[in-house]
């Protein structure tokens, strides 16, 4: 995928000199010295090695880095899907290391929306049912009303009774976005949301995502290979080998560059 010619990388801070924002009580996400080693069938993989990161409420952060640098694992740790072996993980005021499995599920339901690269809609449910799932799990009586308006907000009201296989990739991701945003989460996590889409469709998704974020003041963590897309966020974090190697403000400087390709891609 190539949305644009990536702008020349700005000189980043030297290794080890990246200054994470100080952990404050008001931070939406606060990771401190997080270590994580995953042991898969082929040996230890995806290592986080003493990673610290604080994100203020309402901020959007683009995370970039090469494959295997630990981006996705970082997201999984924030979502409480992976447990850090050491360090503290605080999200929306919850110390995730202290929560049990069900408490984590509850936490996700209350505070999180997640968008995946491969959409991950439930194949046996229609679009509106997919969007309603987290609301149903939260016990909302108006789950389906909210789901319909969420679908409407991504322009898919007319596709609500379609099953995922009957939707195009872009439509599926819009449904996924509606599902992630319907509960008005405090934190939206997006893992390469445009990774499986062509440039034009991907751009539309990104526009939608930023629009939703802006409307609700949601905190956004966006993982991507696409430097330009990352620069559309307020802040750009660069990860390599399980550590943050750069952390800098982005949108102010690169907004124009980042917005341009999404608007013009596909022309």
């Amino acid at each position: 995928m190539n949305l644009t010619n990536p702008p020349t990388a700005r000189p980043s801070l030297p290794d080890g000199a990246s200054a994470p924002a100080p952990a404050t009580a008001t931070a939406m996400v606060d990771l401190h010295d997080v270590h994580l080693t995953l042991v898969g069938t082929a040996g230890p993989v995806n290592i986080l090695r003493g990673l610290s990161l604080a994100i203020a409420p309402g901020q959007s952060v683009g995370v970039v880095g090469p494959s295997g640098s630990g981006k996705s694992t970082l997201l999984a740790v924030m979502a409480g899907l992976e447990r850090a072996q050491s360090g503290t993980v605080t999200v929306a005021g919850n110390n995730l290391s202290a929560l049990g499995e069900d408490a984590l599920a509850l936490f996700r339901r209350r505070h999180l929306g997640i968008v995946f690269q491969s959409f991950h809609l439930i194949p046996t449910m229609t679009a509106v049912e997919n969007v309603a799932v987290p609301l149903e799990l939260a016990g909302r009586r108006d789950a389906f009303d909210l789901a319909e308006s969420a679908l409407d907000s991504v322009g898919l009201a007319h596709r609500r009774t379609h099953y995922p296989t009957q939707l195009s990739g872009g439509e599926q991701q819009r449904v996924a976005l509606a599902r992630a945003a319907a509960g008005e989460p405090d934190l939206l996590l997006a893992d390469e949301p445009t990774g499986n889409l062509d440039a034009g469709t991907g751009g539309a998704i990104v526009d939608l995502m930023f629009a939703l974020q802006a409307r609700h003041g949601t905190t956004l963590v966006l993982i991507t290979h696409d430097e330009a897309l990352a620069r559309a966020c307020d802040r750009l974090v660069r990860i390599s080998d399980g550590r943050i190697v750069a952390d800098e403000p982005a949108r102010a400087a690169a907004a124009a560059a980042a917005r341009r390709p999404t608007g013009t891609a596909g022309d």
């Binding site: 996705s72 694992t73 997201l75 999984a76 979502a79 899907l81 992976e82 499995e101 069900d102 599920a105 509850l106 936490f107 996700r108 339901r109 209350r110 999180l112 997640i114 995946f116 991950h120 809609l121 439930i122 194949p123 046996t124 449910m125 049912e129 799932v133 987290p134 149903e136 799990l137 939260a138 016990g139 599902r179 893992d191």
Partner: protein, 849 residues
Amino acid sequence: MQSLPIALRFARRELRGGLKGFRIFLACLALGVAAIAAVGSLAAAIVTGLERDGRSILGGDVELRLVLRPASPAELDWLTARAEVSQVVQTRAMAHAVANDRRTLVELKAVDAAYPLYGRAVLAAGPGAPSEAPLSLDDALASGADGLPGAVADPILLQRLALQPGDRLRVGTQDFVLRAALQREPDRGSAGLTLGPKLLVSRAALEETGLVTEGSLLFYFYRLKLPPGSDTAAFVTEMKAAFPEAGWRVLDWRNGNPGLRQFVDRIGLFLVLVGLTALLVGGVGVANAVKSYLDGKTVTIAILKCLGAPGQVIFQTYLVQILVLALGGIAIGLALGAVAPVALAALLEDVLPVPIAVGFYPGPLLLALLYGLLTALAFALWPLARAREVSPAGLFRAAAAPPGGWPRRGYILATGAMFLALAAIAVLTTAAQDFALGFVLGAAASLVLLRLLAVGITRAARRAGRPRIAAVRLALASICRPGAATPGIVLSLGLGLSLLVTVALIQGNMNAEIGGRMPEEVPAFFFIDIQSDQVAAFDEVVTAVPGASGLDRVPMLRGRISAANGVPADELTVAEDQRWVLRGDRGITYAAAPPENTEIVEGDWWPADYDGPPLISMEVDAARGLGLAVGDSLTVNVLGRDVTGTIANLREVDWSSLGINFVMIYSPGLLSAAPHTHLATVHAEGAAEEALFRDVTDAFPNVSVVRVKEALQEVNRLLAQVAMAVRSAAGITLLAGILVLAGAIVAGRRTRLREAAILKVLGATRADVLRAMIVEYAILGLATAVVGGLVGWIAAWVVITQVMGAEWVMLPGTLLLTALGAMALTVLLGLAGTWQILSQRPARVLREI
């Protein structure tokens, strides 16, 4: 939070997708449940039939049976004062078709005008006779214009003697006119093992046959119809008190056929256990199906978890789906099981001597439902519990992997509880709890053993290193790779095979026992009711027949043990396997010298010229079963008189020799003075056999002849029917096994398709792939056959030697054949399931997967 309503909603959405992938799951449950429900319903139908028609089967509210003597006038007066009485006399006799000179043994039954007190005898008009004028039994038996009394007979007799209604038939010294075939005899169910077809005559005509002499083996039945509202039990008590020494066997309509009832119970139990095995085998299929379904749902489960679904909701969502499907499968099984008796009733009508009360029996169906539900849960809980452990973080990587390892402790305990409940129901709902318990322990041990075998094979394959031959290397890799079908194949094939080997070996042993070593040793004929004054002439006739040999003749009386050491028989504690000794009349004899080939195991035989108070030689197992030893006293009711003797010695008897054997042999003296007849056996073959039959029946019309071959055929026929039932049930288990096997193989197809495609891309020929698969399935089949064969062999040995108390014959051929067959089946099914793979173009497969 209320998780169940959400789980129900999610489950409903997932179920909209249909039942794809659940066909084998449904079939496994349906099959097992159907087997159990059908057996249960059929047993209930038979027992209900026995109870509903208890009075007509027995022939009255109460039946008294006397052997060798009719009731005394005092007894008869007492009975007629209190009830309507029907007298029936039964004996064995030779029927002789006058026109064509054919003759055969019949069960001769002489009935009075009151017969039958309950039910109705149905006569069929024979061929040629006007069918619109069915005869009444009374008319059929009455004397006709020619002065000859009438008779009606079992259609088999008409066939055997080539008789038509209207033909003449001689019994003893009296000619009868056969008036009709007896289509339905209301009380036929009360007879035990019969040696010949039934022939009905009137009570008066019997007296003219010359068969009624003192000492002849005649059975006198007095059927009583009590006034309405009478208390049967109280009447029986009163009667026993009035005639304590009568020596009659008393049955009332509620237990009219204890033997048959016990038989139905036993066979029913056995078949239910076989059905349960089918269900257990099916359970393996359930587990496989649930596991592979949930493996396919890994991503969905991960998504749900990401969206905040707690593990409980996940577990419940899929539990609900599995339960709904299980109930569907069970419902199919119950429907099949409920209608099975209707279909089988027609088939069994001729085999069973009792009416089958076809109907809807909720009890057995409920039991089958319970078995099905518990089995489904027992096998599904484990994979369900593991599914909730799916790691949602996998969504951020290429694929979410199905979780491995053990589920949480609560689920392990719940699974254990389900299996325990299954075992408890199997044991508690049966009368033969020892047997059921043995089955449960055996089944549990087999399951564990086969599971261990699967683990062992997988480990061995992993450790085998890298054999030189490519096909073997590939096969081993296939066996031990994660998610291999190995456990499923080993469990399903192993259980099915164990049962098959068990059944085959038990049947083989029974056949060997009956057919194997008999022919040379068995006499050709038993001659019954030889009168004392005919003995010398009888010996002469027999020895005059060339080829007849081994004449063995003994006096014979009938007696019923009434007390031991002064304790009445019904108060004795008797070992289960020896109860038959007390149950009815036993043949008894007297002898000066011990019979040939007798082994005295305790005490001494009496002197040849002994002439003191009665001494008894008793068969050792019967004596021990009754708790008797040398020196104890035994009271036997002979011809209505109690004769008390002292046990002098204990003997071994080889019952299987089919010679003349008695439980009790008396010293001569008291008994030789009582009226009695003689019993003889003679060996003869071929032409000599026919000549002997003819000469004896010509010279002694009153002597009954039992052809041992025919009697054995009769026994074999009964056994064959039992064996048939057992084989059918075992077949159902095998079918379940094949289903599961096929399911396990199909489940691995996708992986195999891909594997084979890659192999082909790498240059493997079709033959290479085929060889690897054959080796793989042969290894699995062989290992399973060895263990399954062993389990089946042990089970059969236990049943034959411990349960049946018979001698064990090792049948290596049967064992080997069954085991090899199973292996061949595995290889064939495996290849059939993967045949398509060989012809696939690799490029297409790799593109699709």
